[in-house]
């Protein structure tokens, strides 16, 4: 179980997290939604200890992680796996080396055992035959799959997903969603998914929490989310902008550019 208690974080002059309270039960799949810049990724990085809060507590199975030393925090992190938005595969290594890195570093498995485990993980994410390839020659969806294989190879209890479907075509995105759901059921891990893709949120979440202005403004099941009264949640689900995307003055400038020298150049 992960408990986040009154976490505050300032980045520069911007207060990104303004008192986050959230409890994540073991074995559940929670989706954290919110607009770009609402602090979702920052929150995720706090959970895994890549960022430290200015104030507040984060407890992983009762252990407060923000006051631990670097090495102690790394020990806690061995129970986590994380899928980054850009996959973050090590581009100096092959797919096989990427997936097997955690095993080679932290276990006493023989190279053959590591290889077998790597193959099994790649199979699980539906990616085989690319073991010897470099990340640079993989497509976006394949990179995410490989990164997911790397995250689950160390058999984590918690898997964190940072925008798993962003930048993928709808079919590949759906395949990734299926994969998250499948791994959740097969490996019985706790999944924490950060996304702004509502289709993905409804598909993979047992529970959905919405972040707005650095606070959790809503928590509930997908069904409750659909029926939510909160205007912010409603707007987010329907994808409606609250204000005009471009302030009038910018529109005016843009319009003026069309006349003047630009029209002359266009002729």
């Amino acid at each position: 179980m992960i408990e986040i208690r009154d976490v505050h974080k300032k980045l520069g002059s911007l207060e990104v997290l303004q008192g986050i309270d959230l409890t994540i039960q073991s074995g559940e799949s929670i989706v954290i939604i919110g607009r770009s810049g609402s602090g979702k990724s920052v929150l995720l990085k706090h959970i895994i200890g890549l960022m430290l809060p200015d104030s507040g507590e984060i407890l992983v199975d009762g252990v407060e992680i923000t006051h631990l030393s670097h090495d102690e925090r790394r020990q806690v992190r061995r129970r986590f796996g994380m899928l980054f938005q850009g996959a973050a595969l090590f581009d100096s290594m092959t797919v096989e080396e990427n997936v097997g890195l955690g095993l080679r570093e932290h276990t006493r498995m023989s190279p053959e055992e590591v290889l077998a485990k790597v193959r099994a993980c790649l199979d699980m994410v539906g990616l085989s035959g690319v073991e010897k390839m470099r990340p640079s020659s993989l497509s976006g969806g394949m990179k995410k799959r490989a990164a997911l294989a790397r995250a689950i190879a160390v058999e984590p209890e918690y898997v964190l997903y940072d925008e798993p479907t962003t930048g993928l075509d709808p079919i590949t995105a759906d395949a990734i969603n299926e994969l998250i759901r499948g791994l959740q059921q097969q490996l019985r891990v706790t999944s924490i998914v950060v996304t702004h893709d509502m289709a993905s949120a409804f598909k993979v979440g047992d529970r959905i929490a919405m972040l707005h202005d650095g606070k959790v403004i809503f928590q509930g099941t997908p069904e409750e989310t659909r029926r939510a009264d909160d205007p912010e949640v409603k707007r987010f689900i329907l994808g409606e902008a609250t204000e005009a995307p471009f302030p009038p003055r910018h529109m005016e400038i843009a319009a003026r550019r069309r006349t003047g020298v630009w029209r002359w150049l266009g002729r």
Partner: protein, 279 residues
């Protein structure tokens, strides 16, 4: 335009304190950077024994830093020796006999030119590549990914690079010394009319092994400076391609300047304190 009232209302102290505050911020920022650098250095020392245990990563870095830089070092050293020969001969004209040509070239190369020019050339090549590589890893979250796998980036990435650089810089300097003296001899022989036997006699005349040793100690320190500057600026890269470019520039500038400053202090230390006391 601001109204005159607004201008009057603005507190005058702010304007007065602005330069002082910005100066204070800069000083604090610089002190913070120095602090961070030494924290990285300390962490590198702590992780050193664990970091060099992985032979493949160390050998890979040694290959890239050492063998990779060898052609460049040979080419530059050849011309350094050649120009040392021409310069020395020009200054000797009618005052100093040419049999001292070999002496001057060898000693200046071994004590000063070899280590420093090798460090500057390798610093440009290796410092830039380390900071660009680590910087790209940082901005594409690969460093964070290492952390999530519970791997210490200092042990995994920095220690092999620093270890390889402090091992390979002295070796490259030995090559540089030999090639530069060879370059000096070549010019002496071909364009200055100094015979091989006279040149070699000069080389042997005041040659002292401890000068070579002093040069190698310098190279060792320069290796640490180059790799640590590359790693430091690489690891603190922020914001995309522009950040990586900036980190690379900073790493090369910082290592070049530090090499020349450190060279002076090392010369004082080695030539005066250590060798001076031994006399």
């Amino acid at each position: 335009m601001e109204s005159p009232e607004a201008q009057v209302q603005r507190p005058a102290t702010d304007e007065f304190l602005d330069p002082v505050m910005s100066l204070g911020e800069r000083v604090l920022g610089t002190l913070e950077e120095i602090g961070r650098f030494f924290m990285l250095l300390w962490e590198t020392i702590l992780q050193f024994p664990a970091g060099i245990r992985s032979a493949p990563r160390l050998v890979d870095q040694m290959y890239q830093i050492g063998i990779g830089s060898l052609p460049l070092v040979i080419l530059t050293s050849l011309f350094v020796g050649a120009v040392a020969s021409v310069q020395a001969a020009y200054q000797f004209q009618n005052f100093v006999p040419m049999r001292y040509l070999g002496t001057v070239i060898t000693r200046s190369v071994v004590i000063e030119l070899g280590p420093v020019l090798t460090a500057l050339v390798v610093g440009g090549r290796v410092g830039a590549s380390i900071s660009a590589e680590l910087g790209t890893m940082k901005v594409t979250e690969q460093i964070d990914a290492l952390e999530t796998l519970a791997i210490n980036p200092v042990r995994f990435l920095i220690v092999p690079r620093v270890a390889a650089a402090i091992l390979m810089l002295p070796m490259l300097t030995v090559f540089s010394d030999i090639v530069a003296v060879f370059g000096g001899w070549m010019i002496a022989r071909l364009s200055l009319d100094v015979s091989t036997s006279v040149f070699v006699e000069g080389v042997r005349l005041f040659f002292r092994a401890r000068d070579v040793f002093g040069g190698l100690v310098k190279a060792f320190v320069f290796g640490a400076i180059i790799s640590l500057a590359g790693c430091y600026y690489g690891m603190k890269t922020e914001g995309g391609a522009e950040g990586v470019g900036l980190a690379t520039t900073k790493a090369v500038v910082a290592s070049s300047v530090t090499i020349l400053v450190a060279d002076y202090f090392l010369a004082e230390l080695i030539l005066r304190v250590i060798f001076g006391a031994a006399e």
